[in-house]
Amino acid sequence: MIEVTDLTKEFNGFTAVDHISFLVEKGETLILFGTSGCGKTTTLKMINRLIEPTTGGIRINGKDVREQNPEELRKGIGYVIQHIGLFPHYTVEQNIGIVPGLLEWDKPRIQTRTRELMEMVGLPPDEYLGRFPEELSGGQQQRVGLARALAADPPIVLLDEPFGALDLITRRELQKEFKNLENLLRKTMIMVTHDVFEAFDLGDRICLMDQGKIQQIGTAKDLLFSPSNECVRDFFQTNRFQLELQVFRLKDILPELPGEKFVPDNADIMEFEDSVCLGEVLESVEQPSLKKSMLKIRNSFDNSVIETHAEAVLSAFYRIKSSIMS
């Protein structure tokens, strides 16, 4: 659990972070979201003491970070940065083994752990262990960066725009994998991003910051449907429809689906888990033939299967949305 209280940082009279407070529960992912210069990265770096706060406090599991040795503190916190920062003179294996090395693990243990992590991030160890960072693509480098941050299995991971330096396709691919990494499921994470889709996709809650202040903290749905002020509303206006489709999952609209059994002979039936968001479902059907695109949805609660077509999903979404709005 990370507890931030009344945190302020001033740089030469300029207030970068202005009296902010928030709480991140164990196992939760909080997104610090906002335009550049809003103070989100500064906030993140105060948590592992790369920047010292001007006033205010940060507690991790009840312990004030300023009472801890900064190096010891950081060894217990995974840290991923936008520019990755792999050591160019270290191989992939050595890079991943840095923190275990600092923690003085024995060599075989570090070796096993390195291989395990490389499998996890999708880099076959035998092929990549001995390579140097310059021999990897940007996406591969960030995979190594992620593996390095997780090497000592820290309970807390801080991520500073981890996918920011990657092209759009690689970014989406990595985000998807990232979401499904079992290693990350139990972690308490704070991630900084200015990519709204990434924020909505990966965060349990989102902390929207502007000019050093928190505008609103809440789930993606809270931010979209009950913005606390105009500023928050304006933030999502341009991509509103896509974002709405993203925040609703099939599970949310199940009660509204009629559950028709009609199956045309020539239709392909696609099967979805109910945790998939609507945006993804609609992306995978052909737009002109919404009615003909048949879907099979597996209800994770009772394992029953509903068959329906895409148009029904879309109209169910509109019904739910209007009920929330009113």
């Binding site: 060894k75 050591f87 923190v99």
Partner: protein, 583 residues
Amino acid sequence: MSRFLEFILSHQDQILEQTVEHIGLTVVALAIAVFIGLPLGILLTRYKKLSPSVLGVTGVIQTIPSVALLGFLLPFVGIGVTPAIIALFLYALLPIVRNTFTGIEEVDESVKEAARGMGMSDLQVLRKVELPLAVPVIFAGIRTATVINVGVATLCALIASGGLGEFIFRGIALNNMNMILAGAIPAALLALFLDGLLSIMQKYIRRIIKPLLALACLLIFLIIPFWVVPSLFDHAFRAGFTAEFMERADGYPGFKRHYQISVDTVELDPGLMYNALKEKKVDVICGFSTDGRIKAYDFQVLRDDKHYFPPYHAAPLVRGETLRKYPILRDLFSQLAGKISDKKMAELNYRVDHDKEDPEKVAKDFLKSFYGGARGPRGAGNLLVKNYKSQNTNYKQIPNYNVQNYKPNGIHASMQYHSNSPSSPDSPHSPKFASLATGGMVKTKITIGSKNFTEQYILAHIFALLIENNSSLEVELKTGLAGTKICFDALVNGEIDLYPEYTGTGLLVLLDAEENTRDSILRDEQKVYDYVKAESKRRYDLYWLSPLGFNNTYALMMRGEQAKKLEIETISDLKKYIDQLYL
């Protein structure tokens, strides 16, 4: 070529010894520079506010000419190995400090952030990230420092610290190309070798860093005391001689035989020698009898009671070609003949060396007093008097008529001598007028050279003023040429038209007369003059004009108070004292 190989073979022991000395100086100074420069560079990355001032200071040190730096160190650490190592260390400092600083500063910021973010301490970041990544830049700095040091170490021969510079400077002094090459080629090879060695070390630095550090410690803490400390306390009575004196036939080798004397000697730069004696770093030196510092520093000249030193009468040495083109030169210089006595010359030197007056002003004053003394009907002298006077009023109107860059110990100072400068178009002697006066001939210019000691500067200025004031010729000065050989070569090749030279030097160095001829005429000043005059004309088409009067010969000198205390007045007294010292 074969003579060069012959020379190498016959001197291989000396070359080897000098090379070892050279390596020693370079490597020890470099080790200290790395030991101090590397941490200093690292410190600057931690306290960035200091970096401009520290880098500025090391940068300024770098710009000090090496001989000047050695001279500056002399009163504090004397001569020999210690000041040499300090000077080399100072020169090596800038590239090492700056490259360490830059190398670490230029390590990718994200890599440093990642390192700190993972929990590395400042020391760990330095050791595991910053230093390894800065290695290429740091090594580039060390390699630059090495090459600089090998070069500067040759100059350290001027303060008796040995090394390959000994051959180089003796060679220059003696006009001996083989000897110069025997010093210069090993020095160049040494620079290449050390540079190559460092590039190999750079590749394996991670593996060899520890033994290397141990070796450096050993060098600094074991070898230096053994090497430096004795040089501080040793030597009961020591002579400081110039490279030229040490090697010339009429210098130390002959002197030793003539007086049956043997004394501890060290090799010194001519400019630093007097200071070294004054600062009690040596006890006797071979100066020149007209040197102003004899009076300034209260030195006692030891009488040459067995008449060893040959005559060195100064006279203008002119190219035949120049003289035929401008016959007026002969007339002009004949007016100076015999006009400068030993005492007069010493006085002029004293004014520059001690009173720090400008050599040009001293020259001007001399010509003025000369004019005063030459008043009255004296035939051709009137020309000088008249023109000098009329020109004299011009001085005041031309503000830029002064010499910049006066560097008594500089390697080379070239100055344009412009009484007829384009900035004073009203002057009747401006180039335009000059060409009219000479019947539309192309611009005429005489280039006067000089060696790099005070007397030569003054004489060059006297010559220049004499010519400018009494003819329409334009004069350019190339003063401060480093040594007899350089001056003479410049004259033979036409880069200069004339310079003041000494008859003894002509006989023994320039013409390298055969031993029989030499010995038969050596003690007779007229015979020496006649010989060099005839031979220079025959061999090089060079003309010796009338001698100026003074005899600037070698003279042994000691500090006045010590000479008095030891009751030494003649060289024979010195021999007696030294013999008794070693008994």
